[in-house]
């Protein structure tokens, strides 16, 4: 089942810069797809188009079979998004923020209590939930944003550089959770610069360069016995890898 399908996505910024150019991509349920590219390649722009933050000129994006353009609310209720810099409501306490998210997603009182306790416990955040978010460190905000993304059990998790700012234990917890979510039938699409993490975590990866998808496939298809780093450098140097991969 396709959880994410991007067809010919083109995003042109005002001023004429083509940030994403005819991008096609599919992520099936149960897959973890890494989105890899250099700075300014178009990763965050693609993600912002998927999540409804940015409008796009051409193409179509489907989340769980629903069009982001035609049924934005239905799409948004199926995915959870974690931005690269989690700017959260600093005037709320951690628990107020999570309660707000739970209200918006219509989670029952019993379910939210159980999920918040579980997720916050896993990320060692329970004790801090009564504090204002403004008193949190960057890593704590990141953890809270992750908890907020997980409590409504999304079908698709869209993460922009999710490991930046997390402590080693939280990275491990997040990786385990990502595996568990996928085993339960959801899909994960995340951008990263850390190729080692992507190589060990992802079932497939997509590489983007100057807004164009230059390589995509399973890890075996991309690395061909080598490493993801070698494949990425090859893409960076020659523009694309084996055409069969794309």
């Amino acid at each position: 089942m396709k959880m994410l399908e991007i067809r010919n996505l083109t995003k042109i910024y005002k001023g004429g810069k083509k940030a994403v150019d005819s991008l096609n991509l599919t992520v099936e349920a149960g897959e973890i797809c890494g989105f890899i590219g250099h700075n300014g390649a178009g990763k965050t722009t693609t993600i912002k188009c998927m999540t409804g933050i940015l409008e796009f000129e051409e193409g179509e994006i489907f989340i769980d079979g629903k069009s982001v353009r035609k049924e934005p609310l239905a799409c948004k209720s199926r995915f959870a998004y974690l931005p690269d810099n989690p700017d959260l409501y600093e005037y709320l306490t951690g628990i107020q923020y999570l309660n707000f998210i739970a209200d918006v997603f219509g989670i029952s009182a019993a379910d939210r209590e159980e999920r918040i306790l579980r997720e916050a416990g896993d990320f060692e955040m329970t004790q801090a939930l009564g504090d204002l978010i403004s008193s949190y460190s960057h890593g704590m905000k990141q953890k809270l944003a992750i908890i907020g993304a997980l409590i409504h059990e999304p079908g698709l998790l869209i993460l922009d550089e999710p490991f930046v700012g997390l402590d080693p234990r939280a990275v491990l917890v997040l990786k385990e959770k990502m595996h568990r979510i996928c085993r339960e039938g959801a899909a994960i699409f995340f951008s990263t610069h850390v190729l080692d993490v992507a190589e060990r975590l992802c079932t497939r990866a997509a590489m983007i360069r100057e807004g164009r998808l230059v390589a995509e496939g399973t890890m075996e298809e991309l690395t061909k016995g080598g490493t993801l780093e070698e494949a990425f450098m090859e893409v960076e140097e020659y523009g694309k890898t084996d055409s069969a991969v794309k």
């Binding site: 999540t51 959260l88 409501y89 005037y91 004790q127 504090d131 403004s134 008193s135």
Partner: protein, 527 residues
């Protein structure tokens, strides 16, 4: 240190009114938006300047031209005192900027002085814009000398120093007191409101033997300016200086500079402490999960808006002041009795007719919605990615405004009702008209903010006080009240109840149109 102050002041000024973004943005839509805002500011300045020129001309025509310099000087000082006070906490003691600047190899004094300097430059400009039209009219109709021009120029340069110092002392005091409080913003807002009310109602507290009569405009103005000189001696010094008294000019200049320097020297010791304590947030040692409750989306948004509102002192003070004045005016009417108001009104009906418009005026000058979208700031992505419609987001913002306005409206309504004892029709209209204005201004404020949103801000002052949306909403609110009032006073044999009814109906239609439009907006397009 001079270079450091210069660099930091330049940095502060670059961020004012989004000038830097206008110069460097590659987004043509944003450029047009900023140009539109610039146009609004220019128009406001021209209207204000025109009003002051006319006022000055009027003063000269009734033979009171000599009082003009003193009068304008005091007015500008009061305006600066008022606005600097509201900004002092967020501009001079802004903890976020302090955190950004303190790791740089610059002295704490340089940071403090640069912020004071940036504020000073803005106030000098404000002073010029207010004083200049009056000075030009004065120059055209009355003989002027070299001493007049010199004193005017020097006076305008030193004018902001004293009110700024006074406002900063109050701001520093409030920041120091509230820094230790658990609910800093609420404490800060409360003290700020007290200070503002003290400024507004100070003339009422003066002893009765001042014998201010309002029988004639001329003696009233004479006594007012005399009073100004006693309350605020620099205005008297300025008045004497423009008349050729060089010693007064010296005392005015030296006194203003000296007091400001002494203030800055004193503040230097406590400045870092105040900034740091404002940034510190308390943390609890243990958190115990309580039984959770599920709320509807609308309630969740309303609660979030309420928390946002009470977390920001500057947001609260700047948006509640109109409603507070509305309630206080009604209370004043109840205490003083409607007969005093009736005696000065040129139309029949008196307080019962005018009071709904006075209430409506105060209800229209401030609204929480005019900067509520901008206040989302860097959190706007959350609204854009949650599965909620624009209507839900907007309803939350409107509900907040109604929640804030409701208690003040209730007090104002009850007090006015008891004071003027209207008949049933008048009573209903008296309550409905201000209510219609509260709703209209809330919806209009939201519409304007959706047109001119500013998300990229470091300090809340940028959106609460310096944004075009707040200014445009204020103008729209004022104009919407002034037009029917003009009709009321100018249309012969007009039945006030019918005019009020038409007024309310027009407002209702406009409110519905804007509400529907706001609810259908695409959140992605708001950036």
């Amino acid at each position: 240190m001079g270079r450091q102050i210069l660099l930091l002041s330049r940095l502060s000024l670059m961020n004012l009114f989004g000038i830097n973004e206008l110069l460097h943005t590659k987004n043509p839509a944003k450029k047009w938006k900023y140009l539109g805002m610039g146009l609004v500011y220019t128009m406001v300045l021209f209207v204000f300047g025109g009003y002051l020129a006319l006022f000055s001309y009027g003063m000269i025509q009734i033979g009171m031209g000599e009082l003009l310099p003193m009068y304008l000087y005091t007015m500008v000082s009061l305006v600066i005192l008022f606005f600097t006070f509201l900004k002092a906490g967020s501009m001079i003691f802004e903890p976020r900027l302090f955190e950004l600047q303190i790791p740089l190899p610059v002295s704490t004094s340089a940071i403090m002085i640069s912020r004071f300097a940036a504020s000073y430059l803005m106030n000098v400009l404000l002073g010029f814009f207010v004083m200049l039209p009056g000075a030009v009219v004065y120059g055209i109709f009355l003989p002027i000398s070299v001493s007049f021009c010199t004193s005017l120029l020097l006076g305008m340069l030193v004018l902001p120093l004293l009110p700024m110092t006074l406002a900063s002392v109050a701001g520093a005091g409030i920041s120091a007191v509230t820094a230790r409080m658990k609910h800093k913003s609420l404490g800060e807002a409360g003290l700020m409101l007290l200070f503002i009310l003290a400024i507004c109602f100070f003339p009422f507290l003066l002893p009765k033997d001042q014998n201010i009569t309002v029988d004639l405009l001329k003696p009233l103005l004479l006594q007012m300016t005399e009073l100004m000189g006693r309350i605020y001696p620099p205005s008297l010094l300025f008045d004497q200086a423009v008349c050729g008294n060089w010693l007064s000019l010296f005392w005015l200049t030296a006194g203003s500079v000296l007091i400001s320097v002494l203030f800055l020297l004193g503040l230097r010791r406590v400045y870092p402490g105040i900034c740091r304590s404002l940034a510190v947030t308390s943390t609890k040692n243990k958190f115990c999960m309580k039984k959770m409750k599920r709320s509807s989306v609308r309630t969740a948004f309303w609660k979030r808006e309420l928390r946002r509102y009470f977390a920001s002192g500057i947001y609260l003070v700047n948006t509640v002041i109109g409603y507070l004045m509305m309630a206080l005016m009604a209370l004043l009417l109840l205490i003083a009795g409607p007969e005093k108001m009736d005696a000065y009104l040129p139309i029949g009906g008196g307080a019962v007719v005018v009071m709904p418009y006075i209430m409506s005026f105060f209800a229209s000058v401030t609204t929480t919605t005019a900067c509520s979208v901008s206040m989302e700031g860097k959190n706007w992505w959350i609204m854009q990615t949650l599965p909620v419609s624009a209507g839900d987001v907007m309803k939350g913002k409107l509900l907040l405004n109604l929640t804030v306005a409701a208690p003040f409206y209730a007090v104002a309504g009850i007090c006015t009702w008891i004071a003027v004892k209207p008949d049933p029709v008048q009573g209903i209209l008296m309550l409905l008209l201000p209510a219609a204005y509260i709703m209209f201004t809330a919806v209009a404020g939201l519409s304007v903010n959706l047109l001119f949103p500013v998300f990229n801000w470091e300090s809340e002052t940028r959106v609460v006080k310096q944004s075009a949306s707040v200014m445009v909403t204020m103008i729209v609110g004022m104009v919407s009240v002034v037009i029917p009032v003009i009709c009321l006073f100018t249309i012969k044999n007009a039945v006030p109840e019918i005019l009020m009814g038409i007024n309310g109906a027009v407002l209702l239609i406009l409110t519905v149109i804007l509400y529907v439009r706001n609810s259908r907006i695409t959140l992605q397009k708001i950036k």
